[in-house]
Amino acid sequence: MTDNYILGALRFIGLVLAQVLIFNHLNILGSINPMVYILLLFWYPVQENRTALIAISFALGFAVDLFSDTMALHSAASITAAFFRFPIMRFVFGVNLEFQNFRISGATRVQQLSFLALLIGVHHLAFFSLEIFSLSNLLLILKRIVLTGISSFIFSMLLAALFSKRRA
């Protein structure tokens, strides 16, 4: 149990540092910076407390905000993703979620990837709508969501493959 907390804390710090020192400066095609810290929500245990998850996501987003001068945009986006995490899981995993020993690593690859993609989708939607904050720029918002979303998805997938726990 304590191991889980230490692992969680390490992932928290590692993801924030990776985000602000590496991924915030990638600038693919000039302006695309993938946001990979959302992986923390992907790795978070299924049965754990949802209230704690929202609080942790706020801390996560706020840490990234502090480094990227984005005010509280990352915080708002990551608590939104945390709030919608459970509905997304119910949608993706269905009845499997009811089983006592259900783990995300036990689900099929398609399920895992669609879970990750939906998390990223919700997060980016919230982030970019707040960032640009006017509907006159609707096309710009959509373009940014799609391009950044794709790059976040690819990089998160690679990181998840590298750092997830081994399948039991």
Partner: protein, 273 residues
């Protein structure tokens, strides 16, 4: 009472989410106001220290480019020095200078978001405070927005809130320099009234104007790449290509105008009347 508590317990996730969302929105909107203190900037102790040690390593990767930029600047300054009409006869008294220049280094750069801020390794300990100009050897960079004891956060010209007085070199036609958030190589010069004949051509140089109490006059900004009229046809909208490569920043100069307090004081008194 019991039912209220039950209600709160039942909906604690939604309530917590709503509360945190409100806090985030409040911070975001409140920080959006120009010159309302932005409390949470990357100039704080924690991120400042981490960025500083990180850039302490990465700065070695572009030492060559930085050296070339400084050489280029030295060459320009030497040329100016040797071509002066007469040599300095009087010894220069540094206490009578209007502008004081302080060197610094960029420890965090950003150019891809709609509101870019740059962090530098000088803070209030080096007497860097809000509203001091920041330039590089090539041209203008931004204005100090907030400083902690060792670091300062600079509002880049690539920021939707940036608004800098600029003019066309060798004329007094001035306008304000803004950014449309599209391309990090291009900024926009606005509010120059339509004149006949056209006072400028594509390729002309844009420099800082004399209306600002932050930057000295004639600091290079960029060259004109496109001139258009606005919809009413009364003002020009000009695209300016920056001299600075905003993606590759190293050494910077922070400029303090000694007379700025006096100018601000005078302006305040005048507007109070």
């Amino acid at each position: 009472m019991q039912r209220i508590i039950n209600f709160i317990l039942r909906n604690k996730n939604t309530l917590l989410y709503a509360l945190l969302l409100l806090i985030s929105l409040f911070l975001t909107i409140q920080n959006n106001d120009y010159h309302r203190a932005r409390y949470f900037t990357s100039a704080n102790w924690l991120s400042g220290t981490i960025y500083n040690s990180y850039s302490g390593v990465t700065q070695y990767f572009d030492l060559k480019a930085q050296r070339d930029a400084l050489l280029e600047e030295n060459k320009r300054l030497q040329e100016q020095l040797y071509n002066r009409p007469q040599a300095y006869a009087v010894e220069m008294d540094t206490s009578s200078l209007d502008y004081v220049v302080l060197p610094g280094r960029v420890i965090k750069n950003s150019y891809a978001s709609p509101d870019n801020y740059i962090t530098i390794n000088r803070g209030s300990r080096d007497s860097v405070v809000q509203d001091m100009g920041v330039i590089t050897s090539r041209g203008i960079l931004g204005i100090v927005e907030r400083s902690s004891s060792n670091f300062a956060s600079v509002q880049s010209v690539l920021n939707s809130k940036s608004n800098i007085n600029a003019k066309i070199l060798h004329t007094d036609y001035f306008g304000s320099l803004t950014w449309d958030q599209q391309d990090f190589r291009l900024v926009q010069l606005e509010d120059i009234p339509r004149l006949t004949p056209d006072p400028m051509k594509v390729g002309d140089t844009i420099v800082t104007g004399a209306m600002s109490s932050i930057f000295p006059e004639n600091i290079p900004i960029g060259t004109i790449v496109k001139i258009e009229l606005n919809q009413a046809g009364s003002l020009y909208e000009i695209d300016v290509r920056l001299f600075n490569d905003m993606t590759n920043l190293g050494q910077v100069y922070i400029i303090r105008n000694r007379k700025r307090p006096e100018i601000l004081n005078l302006e305040n008194e005048t507007s109070d009347d």
